[in-house]
């Protein structure tokens, strides 16, 4: 066995041993005491169960989309059904189905959450003009949309330059006279990833240079 293999085995073994020890701890303590637990301890254990369950409900929200109202609605439905029908399997199935439906519907109806980083630029400049999402807009409209979608002024705005677009002037004017004046001071021009064969030949250093160009007043 290689050294790496031993290391992986050590990690797995340590994690497993500690987890087992934690699970066994109360039983080990009880066995070592060799006396009956005081009545208070059992009562404590009884009361601990609903408290742990409530904590688990809250804890499991971490895996859900808890910033949306959907898990709360589905939880209310599950609880209501459980109180009425007292059939856990039915209420779990119904609640889960409701949640999945709500999440799926919300995904279709509402616009997808805005991601704006280098991989998901909000704005693009092409030969036809400025594109916000799927449509072409004027520079003023672009700023208006950024503001109406609640993009904070200190966010870094990535502007995608279409492959082959090499006018330097228009992006500069957009950055400074529109975005900069509106308060968006952190803007970065990005070019599409040149991962395909067609992109290898021309000026391979360009994207990096563009990435480092920032608006004045950026402070860095």
């Amino acid at each position: 066995m290689s050294r790496a293999c031993w290391s992986v085995a050590a990690v797995v073994a340590a994690a497993a041993a500690v987890t087992y020890a934690l699970r066994a701890l109360p039983f080990a303590v009880a066995a070592l005491r060799r006396r009956a637990l005081p009545a208070g301890a059992e009562r404590f254990g009884e009361l601990l169960a609903p408290a742990m369950l409530a904590a688990l409900v809250v804890y499991s929200f971490g895996a859900l989309e808890w910033r949306t109202p959907w898990p709360y609605l589905a939880l209310a439905a599950t609880v209501a059904l459980q109180l009425l029908a007292r059939s856990p399997l039915a209420s779990i199935a119904a609640g889960t189905a409701l949640y999945m439906a709500l999440v799926a519907c919300a995904g279709c109806a509402a616009p997808p959450p805005l991601e704006y980083d280098g991989a998901h630029p909000l704005l693009a400049i092409t030969g036809r003009g400025i594109r916000f999402g799927g449509e072409y807009v004027t520079p003023a409209q672009a700023v208006e949309r950024l503001e109406s979608r609640g993009i904070p002024k200190d966010a870094t705005i990535h502007i995608l330059l279409e492959d082959g677009y090499d006018d330097r002037r228009a992006p500069w004017v957009f950055q400074h006279n529109y975005l900069g004046k509106a308060g968006y001071r952190r803007t970065i021009l990005v070019r599409p990833r040149r991962s395909e064969s067609c992109a290898v030949g021309r000026d391979a250093a360009a994207p990096r240079r563009e990435l480092q160009r920032r608006a004045p007043g950026d402070g860095r």
Binding site: R3, S7, A15, L22, E42, P50, S91, G95, L102
Partner: protein
């Protein structure tokens, strides 16, 4: 080798089968949750690993650790172990510390299960301790068999079923992650709610059982 309280009158075959059916039915929401979460954890492990045999290690760690959060949290450590640059002992200590912080809550489950598992033989108790996870705990607490033997049989079958679901999910995920190069789609968005619904439904039942009006007549 038996400790003080061996299990009196073992269950008959018909009873055992009924208990197993009950455990299988009750564990269906867990199958939904563990199947998908385990799959995701397996994919993650196969992707981040660089381990020689990701499917083997993912399966082994799922079976030995049986802890959802830890499976996700330990992935970076496994990746470092696979790189083979860090010392075995340091990695094992890091894994132990991680397991202790992530799984500290397991120590509390035992406290509330002490009276319920008192009648279990030590062998069965070792198994029950190993399969004690959030979901198994919740279902154990919800189990309302009046006879201790039936309850313990139910709990251990449930534990074995759940660890089986988890291990199968993780192994399948690791196999898929190792086979497919690109990102895998999430199998069913929102299915994680089954875990929340399970905890909530059991909490409802538990609170109802604790209220003084309903103390009697809950034994199944």
């Amino acid at each position: 080798m038996q400790n003080g309280s061996p299990e009196s009158s073992p269950l008959g075959r018909v009873e055992r089968r009924a208990v197993f059916r009950r455990a299988l039915l009750d564990s269906l929401p867990v199958l939904a949750g563990y199947g998908t979460m385990g799959f995701a954890a397996g994919v993650l492990m196969a992707k981040a690993g660089g381990v020689d045999a990701p499917v083997f290690w993912a399966g082994v760690s799922a079976l030995l650790t049986f802890s959802g959060t830890l499976s996700f949290a330990v992935v970076p450590l496994v990746a470092r172990a696979a790189a083979g640059t860090d010392g075995c002992a340091a990695l094992a200590c890091a894994a132990a510390a991680l397991a202790a912080t992530v799984n500290f809550r397991y120590a509390f489950y035992g406290v509330s299960l002490l009276p319920r598992w008192r009648a279990a033989s030590w062998r069965r108790r070792l198994l029950l301790i190993h399969t004690l996870s959030d979901e198994v705990y919740a279902l154990d607490v919800a189990c309302r068999y009046a006879r201790a033997e039936a309850r313990l049989a139910y709990c251990s079958r449930l534990g074995v079923l759940c660890i089986g679901y988890w291990t199968a999910g993780v192994t399948a995920g690791a196999a898929a992650g190792a086979a497919a190069g690109a990102a895998l789609p999430v199998p069913a968005r929102g299915i994680e709610f089954a875990m929340t619904a399970l905890f909530a439904a059991i909490l409802c039942d538990r609170l109802r059982a604790m209220s003084p009006r309903r103390r009697k007549g809950d034994a199944r």
